[in-house]
């Protein structure tokens, strides 16, 4: 029973786009897709790709990037319930201020801030590769970004719930809001997918989606007319018992032909049709990519036992192949690293924050190397960035941290204006936040009200990809106009 299907379709048809920006759009946000023809942005035909590294669970980013000067460091350490010490302070979440040889491996200076009183920071000791890339000018940090409806202060927050996004602190909802770049509930579209909608007209191969996921289904890569192509980090595998590489035996051909017929039928049932469509697409893309991908090799050795590196290795192969075969001029990739929801065991244990950041840092560094001139040679054409739903409470719960809000993200690439922190979104909250627990724009456990909206971060990346028409930007990022700056300038 497709309950009220017809009436709903009828409703949508009659509705048109007249009220897309009004109340009905808030109730049925899918409405905004109707009739909003995206402008025919014409982008350069030089290859470019975005690679989103999603850190599921909420990365405790205030331990990724820490103030180095004594004044701010001491505030940080106090708010984190002291420096972690397995014996004397096992509940503390603070990192030790680096000394001696560690300083070179951890310390960075913000190139956007001339004052030595406030421009010194250090990275988590698990990330020496990122320290190096920052100091070489390839890596930037975007500081205190989070889901917002518009720029606000604590006073605005307290004044009305209409001033801030629904379901703050909830993993699923905040993940959606980051992947939508729109703090709206009930939406199904992601900002990467909508960028794909605009950009794919320039891609020579129409079979291969502009959006490619190495990490399964995600909202980020869903557009009005874009569905991500999903492959595993292991690459492609044969379909057992079917004809993968002709010629095949008569029996294998018989099975293959039957499956092809079944997948090609028209189905009345939505689920049968949805499944058939995906399976058919699997077979088409297998035929397109299998031989070529198998013949694509990389010079860079990615480490084993690093799930993110394995995904990025497949991304690197796909980028190399896509450039060589001229499949695409624009691609949008999605990879993930999970287990950041460290309510417990954040500072010790088999999978603590240090282990995760080591995994992240090494994987990103290997990918950067792989994009280098002696391998894929696309460092200036590929921009890697992180997303994660929120940072976490500065204050410890005795073993880890709980859900926060404003966070820090990383952007890496040859086109990135690196070696700098980007913390000014043009709103009332700017700069690296005061980390005192009861500072004016903090909640009591050290959850920060963001100074930069997700859409500002995302729109900056989208513009680098070539989406510059105001109407496209307004369609993809409906609240962008609420923010003073539509481009943060980091790439």
């Amino acid at each position: 029973m497709s309950h009220s299907r017809n009436s709903r379709r009828e409703f949508l048809r009659n509705f048109g786009c007249v009220a897309c920006g009004g109340t009905a759009a808030a109730l049925l946000p899918q409405l905004r897709m109707l009739g909003t023809a995206l402008a025919s942005t014409s982008v350069s035909s030089t290859y470019q790709a975005l690679v989103c590294v999603y850190l599921y669970g909420g990365n405790d980013a205030w331990n990724m990037l820490v103030p180095f000067d004594d004044t701010r460091y001491n505030t940080y350490a106090a708010s984190r319930s002291g420096v972690y010490d397995a014996t004397n302070n096992p509940g503390g979440l603070g990192l030790a201020q680096p000394t001696g040889a560690q300083v070179a491996l951890q310390k960075i200076v913000d190139g956007n801030d001339p004052s030595s009183a406030t421009n010194q920071y250090f990275l988590h000791p698990a990330m020496p590769e990122m320290t190096s890339l920052f100091n070489q000018g390839h890596l930037a940090f975007v500081v205190n970004a989070g889901s917002l409806v518009k720029p606000i202060t604590m006073a605005d927050y307290n004044a009305s719930s209409a001033n801030y996004p629904a379901q703050l602190f909830s993993h699923a909802d905040q993940t959606n809001q980051w992947q939508q770049a729109w703090a709206e509930q009930g939406v199904t579209l992601g900002w990467g997918g909508q960028c794909g909608d605009v950009l794919k007209s320039g891609n020579p191969n129409t079979q291969l989606s502009p959006c490619i996921s190495i990490a399964g289904a995600n909202r980020y890569e869903i557009g009005v007319a874009t569905i991500p192509y999903q492959i595993s980090s292991g690459g492609l595998t044969n379909l057992s018992g079917m004809c993968n590489t002709p010629p095949c035996s008569a029996s294998t051909n018989a099975r293959d032909a039957a499956l092809q017929t079944l997948l090609g039928e028209t189905y009345a049932n939505d689920f049968a049709g949805g499944y058939a469509q995906i399976f058919q697409r699997s077979r088409d893309l297998f035929n397109l990519l299998d031989t070529n991908l198998a013949g694509t090799t990389l010079n860079t050795a990615f480490p084993s036992g690093n799930s993110l590196a394995a995904q990025l290795q497949t991304v690197a192969k796909m980028i190399k192949l896509s450039m060589a075969q001229n499949y695409a001029t624009r691609q949008i990739y999605f990879v993930t690293l999970g287990s950041f929801d460290l309510h417990a065991g954040m500072m010790s244990g088999a999978n603590d924050h240090a282990v995760l950041l080591t995994t992240l840092s090494q994987a990103l560094n290997d990918f950067w190397t792989c994009m280098g001139p002696t391998d894929v040679n696309a460092q200036n054409k590929v921009t890697v960035f992180t997303m994660s739903e929120f940072a976490r409470t500065l204050q410890s719960n005795g073993s880890g941290s709980d859900h926060g809000w404003g966070t820090v993200q990383m952007v890496l690439g040859g086109a990135v204006k690196g070696g700098k922190l980007y913390s000014n979104g043009g709103g009332p909250i700017t700069g690296f936040p005061n980390q005192a627990l009861n500072a004016p724009n903090n909640f009591p456990r050290g959850q920060m009200i963001p100074g930069i909206g997700v859409e500002q971060y995302a729109a900056t990346l989208a513009q680098w990809m070539g989406i510059t028409s105001p109407s496209d930007l307004a369609t993809i990022f409906p609240n962008l106009a609420n923010f003073g700056m539509g481009n943060l300038g980091f790439v």
Partner: protein, 574 residues
Amino acid sequence: MHAARKTIAYVFALGFAPLAGATVHDQVFKGRFDIPADQPASVNAAARFLTQATFGPTQADIAYLMAQGYGEWIDEQLSRPATIGEPTVEAIVNAGEKVTNAIRLNRFFWQAVYAPDQLRQRMAYALSQIFVVSDQASDIGNNYMVPLSQYQDMLAESAFLPYAQVLFNVTWHPIMGRYLNAFRNVKATIVGGVQTTSPDENYAREVMQLFSIGLIERNQDFSPVLQGGQPVPTYDQNVITQMAKVFTGFTWSDAPTNPPGFYGGGLTFAGEYDPMACWGTELFPASSNQMRHDITVKTVLRGATIVANQTCAQDVTDELAIIATHPNVAPFISRQLIQRFVESNPSPAYIQRIAAVFDAPGNDLGDVIKAILTDPEAVNPPPPCDSANCDGYGKLREPVLRLTELWRAFNAQAPAPDPYGQIAMIGNGGFLGNFGQAPLESPTVFNFYLPDYQQPGTFADNGLYSPELQITNESTTYTTADTYYGFTAKAYQGMPTPPTDRPLIDMSSLVANAANPAAMVATVNADLFYGGMSASMQSTLTNMLTNLSGATAQEKAWSAIYVAMLSPEFAVQR
């Protein structure tokens, strides 16, 4: 050999007294010659019902259901004791087998295929996708595989209890404690009058967001309550911070109290699965630094107050009662159960009918599942229509269930126990990667797929949900197919060198008709499609078998099964 190994009611250390066990009126051996009033309309209707209610229809179950009728079949299933796995899993470990989750999964699938309490097992599996715990968390992993298997047993034993008791059992289980961090969660630390730590908020949040009420106020038909056109949040961050104080003080049941060792215990498997102890004022005076529970007043959900200075057990009981009596629970949980058993997009009226049963005084989840399975919307699919995407009824079959349905339809024979007493079922394993799901292996607390996932295109455009399509993609279609290949073409009775790490299907009913393609297709249609295979698909498979004229009878047989299992029509439970 399939009888329940152990039949105990799950007894709690604290709180609710167990209800009297459901009356056992075992009618298995009762002679029957009358036709029940609610007999399924046909053998195919019976098979369809069993596809919803069990891990797959068997010929024996179809005949039995035809003789009993729906109501009596369900009542008997509700009264069957739970088949459990932990004693077997523990014995295998004690015999010296390496501790990995393969032992647990082998036992899970053995029960799924052979346990007589099919509805209870299926309900436990559904509940495991709501009250999610997972071996993918490093705090559980392989190390706590044995108590994890007992968590599944707890769900089976709780499957038909009142919801409030299920929530209670889940909350006190140390595996849930470890998964969502109530375990060893402690009250705030105060140093020199300054609070330096606060209780962990993880369980406080997810018990409401995922296990009970969800994020916004709901009407009984699951539609959102709107104020000024906007949904109304069920709680805010202040409620979470307050509620987090309730779930403090938990540790292993066998953590020593004299001398106290809060971080000790977990010394035996029972110590690792018995309901947690809570180091509140029931164990230590409030002045003792061993008293780890927060005894301050808590202002929680809907402005309710939990008074100060209670025992931990009383605080938890109060809190869970506040949650369980929230009007959202019935529609929130009912909808997800319908999605697991019947269809992804139940009508509001269907949800409301089930929610009413859910909330009726004295009712339990046994009443709820009976109402779900006997509802007109479950029993009577809408008539077929004949244009593309005219029909949104039903659901995608879970990849795990497609495999158990194969085994049960074709009388799979499990290998003999290995020297440790383990019966191998899963072959090379890797189900989580290959299917995108495996029992108690969810990547996150949000299960393998969300109840609100909308596949882009037809589903999203029409506001329809398609949870299982979230794990269906260009990668998993292939890896799922490869897994099925390994359980059909590479695992049938009578093959020259059969594998010993998985069940072997019985293809004799197909092999006997190897010269008659139409008859083979009819068998597959009856056994896997409850007679619902379309004429065009029957024709396609018949042609395939004709074109397989050079193949052996066995190859024809597995080809028919394998291709049918990959088909869009089999992917749907309608």
